[in-house]
Assembly symmetry: C2
Homo-oligomer: 264 residues x 2
């Protein structure tokens, strides 16, 4: 499988601490050795660093850990290949333009029967179930809305329905962002934590690193981190439920939805 | 204005030498301080490093100079802003998917009257004349062909016509690649050189660096480098003519076209 890492913040914030924990799971404390990637939004633009090698061994990942790029929306992924061989075109995150915005997608899980998903004019470049499901979601969005919808709720409802459909095909844990919103959906493993004043210290699970957020922040900062598994062992991470979607903007949760399963 | 750098090679080749010359022109030997970017194709995938700061001062550019990423198709750009402010979304190269391929575009020059170019469903994210002309080209391609054309000549002819149209709007020097082909078009400044056995030594104009290609290559290697201005001072670079298109594949020129101007 894979692991996901996302961030939503109300001030441009670097993700070096969390990312340095995640990369350990790419070959040292975890088996996700088949590539990694991270996308930073800065304004309307975004940039992605990716490498089809183990993150713990990647010189580019080392730079990303040491070089603080400040962003309000980040999507990251470390890969353990199942669908699609180890190659750059199969390395998450994937970014495509729709409605004049960059959309960035990363997926943890594995789907069956994804080959027939209609992606319309969004053609996959690699072979992963992930990229195909991303293209299918974009096509659904474009089919339903000719431009970015004025009603956020309408878009979020569509995304929720898309995720429920993909959940029927297997494990579908999602991070999706347009730079403003960070959409998250959980099938089995996705955790999140919102840090705000008073800030404390945090200790990574995967590396011998402690950070004192009080020294790194101002009192108004709000920063949410989302990860497949908690990255720190002295904070209260919240586990998402199966079938739940959470949407974050500027560090705050702005939407959550979880429908009760229909009984048999 | 800006400067362009491209490479087409028949074996995966790093571009560290040429790139290290180019980055000097981003703040040291040249005035192109408003950002830089470089896209490497590896198989069907590609990855882009970019930074909206001077390349000569960029830590990411430093990594790219030191870390040899081997590729058969590279597109790079250093920016001196004219249309569009200094920002990540205005930093070249730009990459979009069409026909299941990554297309990467970088432009040197300045256009007038570009605002009305019809980009169809390819919406610009930033404000540059460059990104809009890229979106317009992609839309022209999609309007004319529903999939990658079986006839290369038909595609190249269309691209040639698109470039001639854009040349009417001002200065349009182009690098465009789908990972297999590298399309180049010249309005005023674009030079190229093809290196093959017997390889010799080359000396950068912008830095005190000499390389002995014989030590870096095998006898069958063919590598073409395209740049706005020659990067070395002891080799014979060829200057493209105004209105000329050259197409390279695996280091070799596979197509060239230059129509005579119609007389008055």
């Amino acid at each position: 499988m894979c692991e996901l890492l996302g961030m939503s913040a109300n001030v441009p914030t670097d993700i070096c601490f969390s990312f340095s924990g995640l990369v350990q799971r790419g070959g040292k404390t975890g088996p996700h050795v088949d590539g990694w990637g991270i996308t930073f939004y800065e304004g309307k633009g975004c940039r992605t660093f990716k490498d089809p090698v183990a993150s713990s061994q990647s010189r580019i990942a080392q730079l990303v850990q040491e070089y603080p790029i400040k962003s309000c929306a980040v999507v990251s992924h470390i890969r353990q290949a199942n669908r699609g061989h180890v190659a750059l075109e199969n390395t998450h995150p994937f970014t495509r333009e729709l409605w004049g915005r960059n959309w960035t997608f990363a997926h943890n899980g594995q789907l069956t029967g994804y080959e027939t998903l209609d992606t319309g004019r969004f053609q996959p470049i690699g072979e992963t179930d992930s990229e195909r499901s991303f293209c299918w979601i974009l096509n659904q969005m474009e089919q339903q809305f000719s431009a970015y919808p004025e009603s956020n709720e309408e878009l979020w409802t569509l995304l929720y329905q898309c995720c429920q459909t993909l959940k029927q095909l297997g494990v579908f844990n999602l991070l999706l962002s347009d730079g403003e919103y960070l959409f998250t959906f959980c099938t089995n493993n996705l955790h999140w934590i919102t840090r705000r004043a008073p800030f404390g210290k945090a200790k990574l699970i995967d590396d011998d690193v402690i950070i004192d957020f009080q020294k790194e922040t101002t009192p108004n900062d709000v920063v949410t981190v989302i990860a497949t598994q908690p990255l720190t062992n002295n904070e209260a991470w919240q586990k998402m439920q199966s079938g739940q979607m959470n949407v974050f903007r500027l560090g705050e949760m702005v939407f959550t939805r979880l429908d009760k399963e229909k009984g048999a």
